[in-house]
């Protein structure tokens, strides 16, 4: 039973990380109908920035709490800046192009960013500093749920609540929902759609950066390639929940995280990634609109 609970919590942890990334996919897709292939790379850059900042600060002898806060802020700031810039360079000029053009551009951007980090930094796996200490109160259940897992779950829940608040009640959130429903109509009622799209990219990237920071401290090592797999898995989660739907992305991520965790725990860890891809292929074949998504009919 302990093993089951351990797998359950490890699945929840995975799922929350996927959720943080999947939200970026789903929000961007909801607004401009683009699969932002470079989103995984944003998350990787978030992890790298926090790694660099945290290591520099720890070498210069800063206290742990300051390191965590500054590294977190740096990751969010830089990832959002990257998200913003990528949208301006690679997607904005293609807003009225055929469907495949922005997708190819996004794939190019993803390859570009991977190799940019590879060339500027290194291809080796880098050890990520321990940012989250073992809490003493977690001692009795530490063999089932680690302190890092707890932090990830708590942070994810806090971030989700904040995001829900932003989308439901703030002006920019309302503008985002309006743009997602009908872009032309949103323009007509005086919403600056370009700003809304930029804001969506910034929010999505900030969430991915938080995910990057958390998973890097959970796994303990990073390299330039982590974004690819994480991106695909988060995309799977977003599609599973119904792309474009925010609660769907969270639900899909948790399901994917639990599936992976139980499958690797009870079946085989060699095929860890195969399960995610199989799930993706199966969903797209049998229910392309996802669990909470709306099936849209093509209009002529």
């Amino acid at each position: 039973m302990d093993y089951f609970i351990e797998l359950f919590f490890s699945g929840l942890t995975r799922g929350s990380i996927y959720a943080l990334i999947a939200l970026g996919y789903t929000m961007v897709y909801g607004i401009i109908g683009l699969i932002n292939f470079a989103h995984g790379e944003i998350y990787m850059i978030g992890a790298f920035t926090s790694f660099i900042v945290a290591t520099v600060l720890s070498i210069y002898g800063f206290p742990l709490l300051a390191i965590v806060i500054i590294a977190g802020i740096a990751a969010v700031v830089w990832s959002s800046s990257y998200g913003f810039t990528i949208e301006k360079i690679a997607y904005k000029p293609l807003r009225h192009a055929p469907r495949l053009s922005p997708l190819i551009s996004a794939i190019g951007m993803s390859i570009f960013l991977q190799n940019y980090v590879l060339l500027a930094q290194t291809s080796d796996f880098l050890p990520f500093p321990t940012l989250i200490p073992d809490f003493p109160f977690m001692e009795p259940i530490a063999h089932i749920v680690g302190s890092t897992d707890l932090m990830i779950l708590v942070t994810t829940v806090v971030v989700m609540i904040a995001l829900t608040f932003v989308i439901k009640f703030t002006k920019i959130g309302k503008a985002m929902r309006a743009t997602a429903q009908d872009r032309t109509m949103a323009t007509l009622v005086g919403i600056n759609v370009n700003n809304v799209i930029s804001a969506t990219f910034i929010v999505g990237s900030a969430l991915a950066a938080v995910g990057g920071l958390l998973i890097a401290s959970h796994i303990g090592q990073i390299n330039f390639y982590i974004g690819f797999l994480a991106g695909i898995k988060a995309f799977t989660a977003a599609v599973l929940g119904g792309i474009g739907s925010i609660p769907g992305a969270v639900l899909g991520s948790l399901i994917l995280g639990l599936t992976e965790s139980f499958a690797t725990g009870y079946v085989s860890s060699d095929y860890e990634d195969v399960f995610a891809f199989m799930l993706l292929v199966l969903i797209l074949i049998f229910k392309p609109s996802g669990l909470l998504g709306k099936a849209t009919n093509q209009k002529v």
């Binding site: 850059i45 053009s101 880098l126």
Partner: protein
């Protein structure tokens, strides 16, 4: 265009990029030795680089906006390559020159050069295969390399276990890949374009992961070695001769592929693909079976990839799963996009440029993938039709202007 305002914007842009790239480009930490290297010189490179790129982009935009009107008329006659190809005497001359170069290439240059050229020609064929799927039928296939892997492993495994030769397996490998194409295509081809891209990507990764992890079947990451090279009418050739022989085989493959793809383009099927790419609903209304037409495109592309997979295994005599990563698919896609989607001559040029350039500019080879990514973005933004765009067959009739 070189106003003060532009200058200010350029400076701001380069400042923004300096900020953006600061942590990754400037700071380099060694977490084990606990040292920090501040590479301040990179700030200067970044600043100057982005400043120049900004003005280059502005210049291109400026020229595009102020281009004289007859541009549209020039587009129709096509680029210089098309003009040569349309003129019969020039075309014969061009073909003769290319054929002479192709025939004498391995005798003049070293076997290393021949090997490189063979690889480039393989990418030409792969590019043309993917061109059927992406360029003509408009289906973005990101798992093309999976079919390549199927071909390569079909040959390697059958050669290893049953000692079957290259020529026996060549069609088998192609058909096997086409079979996988149908198996995958049947359920997923009804999906919309971008979903299809992700599913094919997932499929490509599944194939690679299975090859990597199913040790008893595929020998896992260590791969299969000592695969026999193609034999010449039952005669085993030495290494040197074999390289030349493989080269000529590839030349023949390229010629056959160009011929078939060219014929396909003008066939009923090819026109159906192009129509599907342009507008699915209108196309269905015209009575074209959408699923069947797509499936044929998908499996034909896979067939070509499978054949090239067999060729690849026979050429390198060694296969392992790391040859079939997503990046390989991305390279082939970059070839098609750079050359011009749907354009045969463009794809050939694209493959030769992208494969030969990093080979001969060794200093730049580490920037290869960076450039591939950049090319995909830049081509989509600035020249979505590719270097040598496909000219649409158009029928025009000169309207006589009424005199008044």
């Amino acid at each position: 265009m070189f106003s003060l305002k532009e200058l200010k914007k350029g400076l701001l842009t380069s400042l923004w990029f300096v900020f953006l790239t600061f942590p990754i480009v400037v700071i380099k930490v060694d977490p084990i030795a606990r040292t920090v290297v501040w590479r301040w010189e990179n700030v200067a490179y970044m600043a100057i680089g982005t400043f120049l790129v900004y003005f280059l982009v502005r210049f291109i935009q400026y020229r595009r906006e102020n281009r004289p009107k007859p541009a549209a008329a020039r587009e129709k006659t096509g680029s210089i390559v098309h003009r040569i190809l349309q003129n019969p005497t020039q075309r014969v001359f061009l073909v003769a020159v290319v054929a002479t170069i192709a025939v004498f290439f391995p005798h003049v240059l070293s076997s290393y050069q021949t090997n490189v050229m063979t690889t480039a020609l393989m990418y030409v064929v792969l590019g043309l295969g993917l061109n059927i799927v992406v360029g003509m039928a408009g289906l973005l296939d990101l798992g093309f390399v999976a079919f390549y892997a199927v071909g390569a492993y079909t040959y390697s495994l059958l050669n290893l276990h049953y000692g079957l030769g290259f020529w026996t397996i060549l069609p088998v490998g192609g058909l096997m890949a086409a079979f996988f194409g149908v198996m995958l295509g049947f359920p997923v081809l009804r999906l919309r374009g971008d979903y299809l891209a992700i599913v094919t990507l997932g499929f490509g990764e599944i194939i690679r992961l299975i090859l990597e992890n199913w040790g008893e079947f595929s020998k896992g990451p260590s791969g299969i070695s000592n695969i026999s090279r193609p034999s010449f009418f039952g005669i085993e050739l030495g290494l040197e001769q074999s390289i030349i022989y493989t080269y000529y085989l590839m030349v023949i493959f390229v010629v056959i592929t160009i011929f078939i793809v060219n014929r396909l383009q003008d066939s009923r099927l090819g026109r159906a693909w192009i129509a599907l790419r342009e507008d699915e609903i209108a196309c269905q209304a015209m009575g074209i079976d959408k699923r069947k037409t797509k499936l044929v495109a998908f499996s034909l592309g896979a067939f070509w990839a499978g054949i090239m997979g067999v060729m690849f295994a026979a050429k390198t005599t060694f296969v392992n799963p790391s040859s079939f990563t997503f990046l390989e698919s991305a390279i082939i896609l970059a070839i098609v996009v750079l050359g011009g989607m749907g354009s045969i001559i463009g794809v050939i040029f694209g493959a030769l440029i992208l494969i030969l350039m990093p080979e001969y500019l060794r200093a730049l080879s580490e920037y290869r993938m960076l450039a591939f990514g950049g090319i995909l973005v830049c081509m989509m933004v600035f020249r979505p039709q590719g270097l040598i765009s496909n000219i649409r067959r158009t029928y025009t009739f000169e309207k006589k202007l009424p005199k008044n």
